[in-house]
């Protein structure tokens, strides 16, 4: 099983962990993922700047649960060619937007 390497994602992270319009590829990917998640999951009452890139994706104010994660699994495979096909790996990858972006960056084919 592939290990998630969240340490890479700390490059360019803002000091409070919140999203900044970053210029590094990983920051761009994080912002892209946040937009995608809000759009796909139809979360209308949270703005991009409110999302902490390092906070847990599940069980916080975003209201994301296990069903949403499975929906994101499909979308991520479709859009980036990255497959997250078991729950154990899913838990690591979806730990935060940072870990998700890093996993995608390391494995993407599209």
């Amino acid at each position: 099983m592939e290990e998630v390497r969240p340490e890479k994602a700390s490059i360019g992270k803002s000091s409070n962990g919140k999203a900044s319009i970053g210029s590094s590829p990983i920051e761009k990917l994080i912002d892209e993922l946040k937009k995608k998640v809000l759009d796909i999951l139809n979360i209308q009452d949270v703005s991009l700047s409110d999302i902490d890139s390092n906070a847990p994706m599940v069980g916080n104010e975003l209201g994301i649960d296990s069903i949403d994660i499975l929906e994101l699994v499909t979308v991520i495979e479709q859009d980036y060619g990255v497959r997250i096909d078991n729950k154990e790996l899913g838990r690591k990858v979806f730990a935060s937007f940072t870990s998700l972006a890093q996993y995608i960056a390391d494995h993407r084919t599209s």
């Binding site: 139809n42 979360i43 209201g63 069903i67 499975l70 929906e71 499909t74 479709q78």
Partner: protein
Amino acid sequence: MSSEGIFITGLGIISPLGRGLPSTIHALKNPVSGIHSADLFNVAVDQIMPVADVTVPFPTEPGVPRTHALALVAARDAMEGRKAPPDAIVIGVTTGGMPKSEQLLGSKIVSPQEYVYHGAGTVATYLAEHVSCTGPAFTLSTACSSGTAAIKIALEMLRRGKAKSVLVGGADALCRFTYFGFFSLQLIDPKGARPLDRDRAGISLGEGAAMLLLESAPTPPQGSIAQILGGGISCDAYHPTAPHPKGEGALKAMQDAIADAGIRAVDIGYINLHGTATLDNDASEATALRTLYLDRIPSVSSTKGMTGHSLGAAGAVECAISALSVSEELIPANTGCVNPDASLGLPVVLKPESRPVKIALSNSFGFGGNNAAVVIGSVDLPVPVRQRTCPMSLQVTGLACLTGSGGTDDSFQKFSQGVHVTGVLSDEEVSKDLPQRQVRRLKRTSRMALALATAARKDAGGSDCPSSVFFGTGWGPLTETYDFLTKLFGSDMKFSSPTDFINSVHNAPAGQVAMELKAHGANITATGGDYSFEQALFIASLLTSEKDNLLLLGADEMHPELSLLFDPSSAGDTTPSDGGGAIMAVATDSPEGPAITPVAYRMAPGNTGSAPMIDPGIIKDIDRRYGALFVGIPLAYEVAARAQVKSFLTYSKFSGPVVDYRKYTGQYATSAAVATVLAVKAIKRGSLPAILTGKQEVSLSGKGILVMGFGPYCTAIDVRNHNRGVHAP
């Protein structure tokens, strides 16, 4: 008091274990898993998952979906040697004609006549036609608990004197829809289902059908196999798919079934588990059993390691296996489990055992938190003596409807002015009073159901939550169904949406309502085309007891593509329309104030709608009893239905006004729900305006409205204001 037993006098089963009782018994005694690797749907190599398909040959008719064919095999086998048809049919089905419809949709075939078997409810009517049953043919669609819930409903139909014999069971065939749906949920074990194993990793989908002929009798009729002692139905009201972690709903269903059977938990000798082999299900079910029994749990096994999980059929197949356990003195093995998960603390039976089992329990749990359990006893047990029960009336405490004109007040006002309430509200308008967070991943039918439930509860004063929810829908959540298949076919079978899958099941809206209203009692979704709301009402009258709080709902959405293919009445309508109705009520056999009572549901006799369709006692005094008839004439059967109405009026000599309600509501399956709500509003107002009667205003003082449905089935709902001392029908 009543001392009639409910006996299984016929049993038909077709499953991956074979067809018929000898094959099934042989397979249970010499267990071999029916799960194997098969590329049924021509999928990518990494998507090939083991399944348990029916490999024994069976008769099929051209153009008839596999589900219907499997169901008919089991029904014919259960009815073998019988001349008299059953009084009623009750079956559990989840996907109905989907095995055929998905292929047609994938091939972009848009001829509605190709989709006549799409509806889940068409399986029951197909059986009714083939076994000449002219009574009710009800279809439960409560996901994986459907087959077991059907048995509890059949049991109550017999106990409450609505039938002497019922053909009951479940059927589902493998299809892409469920295969890719469960795949997207990561719930399929690539190695095949290993129930209760420490390394279990999910289900294997299966298929099949089982039908039981149940008869009520004071002593066991000849050839009786076993008896149904009791049943329980509950809802987790916790999560759309995941079971309650402590198995609270499962525990309640088992406790209710045991109490209903009049036995003690320790009297049970064998438990056929739901045992799907997902981590969560098996853990939750085990927790419920440990709570129920502490450390004295009887022998348990899941037979899904042999049969796979056949969804709507599973409960019926497993009740059949439990009946065979009792009649053959056989405890089936938990095939597929190599290393039992010690943390579950279950006395799992790994090899079949030969020993007497007097009483068995069969569990089934499903999406929407829907749980059901049935207790089966040997024929030689004494027939339980029970308090006599009867079907309930629903004393109305709150109302709501949604139409093209908006909510209850807007709709009733327009209707009272003789103005149509046709049309389609936007999704945003439908859910305008619901928090966005709550509906963010819900599409149209679930939004309608939640909006209706919330409004009806508010109308009832907002205090009491219903314990049970009864939902009728002709077609289920069509948007999710369409979106799921569109994504699947659009990606060459690579991608599908798990959210759309779980919300596409017919019972998803009722599951959402239960979560919102914390309704932990029975949660029933019934489906049968234009008579779905009536089915839900009839089932509510059978499953509730005096003083139970309940919510009755009916809703159908207009989908711009699927409604035109599936619902010929909707397709022919000049103004596309949808909507629904909801009624908060207290169940009672002696209502006070406005109440609704189901009084007729049967196949139209020769499509003439004459003599025997409704209780002669009601027809006899029809002018004195009713101020008006609201009649539902589905456009697709207009000619026959109008002839039925004419015939009924001639026969009954009813002289009051007849309101053709679909003219006002539009043509959709559950327009009867709206008509019933409008009828209650009219009763409460005490009169029907001249614009609706075509003559003068009609007083409803002391009189009711009979809401009738015509077409292939004839139905009638009595709506009236009950006054103390006035005898109810």
